[in-house]
Symmetry: C2
């Protein structure tokens, strides 16, 4: 139930790309802007490229840019590209698990958990993230003081 450094880095780099209006951005600039180890970042960017989220060109004047408009790429897209499916249980998707005995309804709980994760991650685009103008339901979640309390 935790977010890996890789996923965090990936989203931050993608946000930086979303904000770069023109031309390819060098890996080094992304690494500096977000304070990410360069060599690790390049591996992440490669994964994003393979997932079709990012494009790249080599050589002088080379760099990375988003393959699609920033408002059509969600945080979920980026996280899935580097971490795989969201909210798997024991490495299987919750809809494919069969629970027995008194745990039968646990499946519905995990499904609800995933649905609520998706409700945030699939509705925040990179454009939203950069502008800070998050979808209203997400904004509301983050506005509650209770959401900021540790536990």
């Amino acid at each position: 139930m935790r977010v890996s450094a890789k996923a965090d880095y990936a989203v931050r780099a993608a946000a930086e790309l979303a904000a770069a209006s023109e031309g390819p951005v060098k890996g080094e600039r992304l690494a500096e802007a977000q304070d990410i180890p360069l060599q690790f970042l390049e591996h992440i960017l490669l994964e994003l490229k393979h997932a079709g989220i990012v494009r790249a060109r080599r050589g002088a004047k080379g760099g990375y840019w988003l393959a699609r408009p920033a408002d059509s790429i969600t945080v979920a897209d980026v996280v899935r590209a580097v971490e795989g499916p969201i909210a798997h249980v024991q490495s299987s998707p919750p809809e494919s698990i069969e629970y027995r005995g008194n745990a039968e309804h646990l499946q519905e709980v995990w499904i609800a958990v995933r649905a609520n994760l998706r409700a945030v991650l699939e509705h925040v685009s990179l454009a939203d993230l950069v502008s800070g103008d998050l979808p209203a339901p997400v904004e509301e979640l983050a506005a509650s003081p209770d959401a900021w309390a540790p536990r």
Copy 2:
């Protein structure tokens, strides 16, 4: 963003305890009922005991039982006991992370993610889980066919 086998096992064992109306339940019975490796389960039960969720007695007629009524223990309690804090990013709680540059609003996103996780996990009690009578908002989440679609 995944649920470990340990957490899954812990919740299932706790559900089984919640359903056992009377007397201590032996580890072996729990293991059989939920098809969990016995020795691994005992370690998990020990963690639940240390967290004050479960109690135990040794010897003949010994076993495990819930330390509190089943409707006052949530799935979140059990998951936290074995997995630690929910929705940490890079091993830190989201409210303590400072993002720079174009990723500034990422913090709000992770906060919203955690809030939505809590919205499910902290509101489903072991009693709810066993009866199958989940809180209405959770039920609604799980009812949507979209929530069952892989992605």
